[in-house]
């Protein structure tokens, strides 16, 4: 019960944040951090719950970004043999959904292909997939404009009750949009993790042989979670593309995958709130450091913070905090006279 109240309070605090923290700079930071937190939430489903490390996760982010950007701007592409595909500009929300679908489709494809292998090979296959995607974005100039980048991408538009289709222009509106997608992603992942699928995934992470022997369809569940994770990452790419409003092959940069991994593992992989805590910490820290150190030193501090977290909190921040919380709670209980203690069920 207290858990529910606490989580409602947290959600309420985030929802009302633009009212008590109206500084657009901070909202801007939270929007960009939030976009990467959404991607980190999706990575956590794979890394934390299936134990499969996708080092090419940025591929799905980039596919979502490019699909949404291209559809919202419209494009024509020469398919060879005298065929051209001419697509008129679509509404942004529709392009955004198409981006999610496209990313999920690639997730299915990569999942089918990649789960023939496991562990380290899965890692490398996903890295290679992201590299191939980057090279396609770079060299298929006819479609993606290659390194010349697609710019002037429209801002997000949304159908709102009572207002019709509106363009989201203010920081607060964009913040709420990112928050809404983040909440949906969080609830979706939480739902999967707590369902039969989630239990199967965890069984699989712990002992694949055993899971197989009790009749869990390993590949089926792995592919399913890859599809969901890819779709969510695609959504985060779509948000990115309509917020930053330019997309170029740099969206496939390896450092973006690294950012997501840092968020997931420092927060605590395999915990639902881990990516959020890690994401807020490592999304905001670089900005807070700007005033206090030279550019290289900022990065050195960033790297050192990661090292220290692994050193002292090897399971991540959330599990460590949970342990401290439990100890405090136990301590608190001991101070309360026995007949007043609540019964632990």
């Amino acid at each position: 019960m207290t858990r529910l109240i606490l989580s409602l309070l947290v959600v309420l605090a985030f929802v009302t944040l633009p009212f008590w923290m109206s500084d657009p700079y901070i909202l801007g930071l939270l929007i960009l951090a939030g976009i990467f937190i959404i991607a980190a939430i999706s990575l956590n489903l794979l890394l934390g719950y299936t134990g499969q490390l996708s080092l090419g996760h940025v591929a799905f982010f980039g596919i979502g970004a490019y699909t949404s950007a291209l559809l919202s701007r419209g494009f024509d592409v020469d398919l060879g043999l005298g065929l051209t595909l001419d697509v008129a500009p679509k509404p942004v929300w529709l392009s955004f959904l198409a981006g999610i679908l496209m990313a999920a489709l690639f997730g299915w494809f990569v999942g089918r292909l990649a789960f023939r292998v496991r562990g380290a090979y899965f890692v490398i296959l996903t890295v290679s997939f992201a590299q191939v995607m980057r090279l396609i974005a770079l060299n298929w100039v006819d479609l993606t404009e290659g390194p010349m980048a697609i710019n002037n991408i429209p801002s997000f538009t949304l159908w709102l009750p009572g207002l019709g289709v509106t363009t989201l222009t203010t920081k607060a509106q964009n913040y709420w949009l990112v928050l809404a997608v983040a909440v949906i992603a969080f609830v979706l992942v939480a739902h999967i993790v707590r369902s039969r699928v989630g239990r199967a995934l965890i069984a699989l992470r712990e002992n694949e042989g055993l899971a197989r022997s009790v009749g869990i369809q390993v590949t089926h569940y792995l592919v399913l979670s890859t599809v969901v994770a890819a779709g969510i990452a695609g959504a985060s790419g779509g948000l990115y593309t309509h917020y930053v409003r330019i997309v170029d092959p740099d969206v496939f940069m390896f450092i973006y995958t690294v950012t997501m991994i840092i968020m997931v593992v420092t927060g605590g992989k395999g915990t639902l709130t881990g990516p959020i805590v890690g994401g807020l910490l490592f999304g905001l820290m670089p900005e807070l450091l700007r005033d206090y150190a030279g550019p290289e030193v900022q990065w050195i501090i960033y790297g050192a913070a990661i090292v220290l977290i692994v050193f002292f909190l090897p399971n991540g921040i959330v599990p460590a905090a949970a342990r401290i919380w439990q100890r405090l709670a136990a301590l608190g209980l001991r101070l309360v006279p026995e007949h007043l203690r609540p019964r632990l069920s």
Partner: protein, 282 residues
Amino acid sequence: MNGVMLGSTYALLGIGLTLVFGIMRIVNFTHGEFYALGAYMAYLFVAQLGVNFFAAILLATAIGMIVGAALEFFILRRLKTTDIDSVMLLMIGLWIAMQNTEQLIWGGVAKLIPSPFAQQPLVFGPVSVSPLKVFVLVTAIVLLIAFHLLINHTRLGLAMRSTFQDRDVASLMGVNVGTIYMATFALGSGLAAVAGALLGPIFLVSPTMGDLASLKAFAIVILGGLGSTVGATIGGFVLALVEEFGSGYVSADFRDAFSFLVIVAVLILRPQGLFAPKERVG
């Protein structure tokens, strides 16, 4: 010729990475930074302190090994976790910190290491090649042979191989696993550093040079099969030749794509890599 020269240094890089992964189960993101460290040390000694070129390469390698050993002793050994993802994250943190320390010390401007070799290329009929490249090739081949002798014909090599096979059994048989880990990480880092010190004078030295080296090293290790040093050696040459011929005959734009396409093909056809026996799949 160029492909073979690159291949020999790629092989050194790949062996270092596969050794650390195979024996210690660490996805070593700092590998490229040891490559950069080797190159920067060579620059420091040759260009800034005026040390003899060949001595500088030796010193750079030694420093790479010492820093690697120190990293193992002061950080990796003391970790409370063996979880592969957490250790990988630690290596990511170190990678970021090391790369930016290099920039802090030497700045972002790329440096050139002067070499004592004649600048005039040697010409053999239609082929011309610089003496420096010949030196790099010969050194790298000598090191590759030395490394395989070390692994297959010394007590240290035997202890490393047995730790690789089964850490617990090796420990029971009296192998000091801690020492082997330190030796492994030092050796892996030293191999990356020597590759950096050798390629540094051919290319340029810059803080981000390690990123591409890491990427190539990962590709080589996959090609050869994780944990297989013979595989990494052959993988290094295969990658360099694929790049060279792929870009020579098809299109140079897609040069880096070839390596990845080859990897994807290898993984689909033979997931355990080209040269590793099946049970080594990690």
